[in-house]
Amino acid sequence: MPAYEELVRRYESLAFRTAYLIVADADEARDAAQDGFLRAYGALRRFRAGSEFRPWLLRIVANAARNRRRSSNRRVSLALRVAAEATADGPVPSPEAGVLAAERRALLLSAIERLSLEDRDLIVMRWFGELTEAEMAAALDCPRGTVKSRLSRAMGRLRVGLPEPEPEALRD
């Protein structure tokens, strides 16, 4: 058991972040991550030798989080906050991060909120959760090629909900 506890410590941050991006609530995300680790422990016998533990765990945690979101029967709002506004003592955004104007940022967040849950999961996992396509494929239980095509379609729908960026923004 201490060994599994060690494994939980190693992956708890990734599990919590993934769950949070799905349920959009810190308490729910903690519970979903705990559920996920317990289910993974119960399913250890089914874990295939030679497989990677991380994507296997991610899939279980993401399923636990989606089940929680489904059973909560409410439209969860991401309620994403920028770091500078979140806490007075929080990390100072990098100068680069400051480039994104507040108005454009609000438009983007609002467009993401209007997406379907499936599209939103893809966008937030890819950009905010910083999961790789392979990890997303594991979390969403689908082939990597499907992640690519679904991500492309989700981006298309996000684009529709946004005004064209200013020509200034198109310059590198």
């Binding site: 060994a3 506890e5 995300a29 705990q34 295939r48 030679g50 990677e52 940022r105 923004a169």
Partner: protein
């Protein structure tokens, strides 16, 4: 224009991500550990059932033993005394064990970056099946699967007698510090003059460092208790031998 817009959107999302505040991860491991300990506490009913099951298994084994001693048919199954020629291992018996792809021994030799070692002059003889994985770990991994052999009875569930796995990796005592599940025993032993480990008990994970230095999670006890050791950068694993002495004998015969 759409492509330019997508590239800009990608950049904007990346910048936005840098500004998003995801709450700090709360401690999760203690709650998980507590829940598992509570789950594992056996109920009185569970204990009674376990005893009942044990008695039933003992009774069945006694009946099977008597049938075997007499060489009689029981429930459509004939028990025969003597070694005889073991039936060949059915194809695909190890296909779902994540061992890689089924190949011939020759194909296996050319697929991995090391010389495959075989147990010479033992009851095992030639492997029934050879599997190779060239994805993980670096340099490839070969698995030699043996069915029922004299002195190495097949596991009734898997049909596998012995499984020998060879791959390039470094192992050490820390590889086993993180073993999962209670009831796993790790004994440090000497194998061919090198330090090895005899791991007995339930299925568990362990870690090793592959040829690139990356840490890889793996599972042991696919078919039985395991002897694992490292020789000249090659990690060898023998699973399913009835005892440590049998496993050490096989290890000594690997050339």
């Amino acid at each position: 224009m759409t492509e330019v817009f997508d590239a800009t959107l990608d950049r904007e999302l990346t910048l936005l991500a840098a500004q998003i505040a995801i709450p700090a991860t709360p401690p999760i491991a203690p709650a998980v550990a507590l829940a598992i300990r509570q789950q594992r506490a056996p109920s009185r009913l569970g204990l009674r059932l376990s005893r009942g099951l044990v008695l039933a298994i003992i009774a069945t084994l006694l009946l099977v033993g008597i049938a075997a001693a007499l060489g009689i048919a029981l429930g459509g199954v004939r028990f025969v005394i003597g070694s005889g020629t073991p039936a060949p291992l059915p194809p695909g018996v190890a296909a779902d064990r994540g061992l890689g792809r089924l190949v011939s021994l020759e194909q296996g030799r050319s697929a991995v970056s090391f010389q495959i070692r075989l147990p010479a002059g033992t009851a095992l003889g030639e492997p029934d099946h050879v599997y190779v994985s060239t994805l993980v770990p670096t340099g490839g991994r070969v698995a030699l699967v043996y069915g029922d052999r004299p002195g190495f009875p097949a596991d009734p569930k898997s049909g596998i007698g012995v499984l020998i796995t060879e791959f390039r990796a470094d192992i050490g005592p820390d590889s086993f510090e993180k073993l999962i599940q209670q009831g796993v025993r790790v004994e440090e032993v000497t194998v061919n003059g090198a330090t090895g480990y005899w791991v007995a008990g339930g299925q568990h994970f362990y870690y090793y460092r592959n040829a690139d230095g990356a840490v890889v999670d793996d599972t042991m006890r696919l078919v039985g208790d395991t002897l694992i050791w490292e020789e000249a950068g090659l990690t060898l694993r023998i699973e399913g031998a009835p005892s440590l002495a049998d496993a050490q004998q096989l290890a000594a015969a690997l050339h």
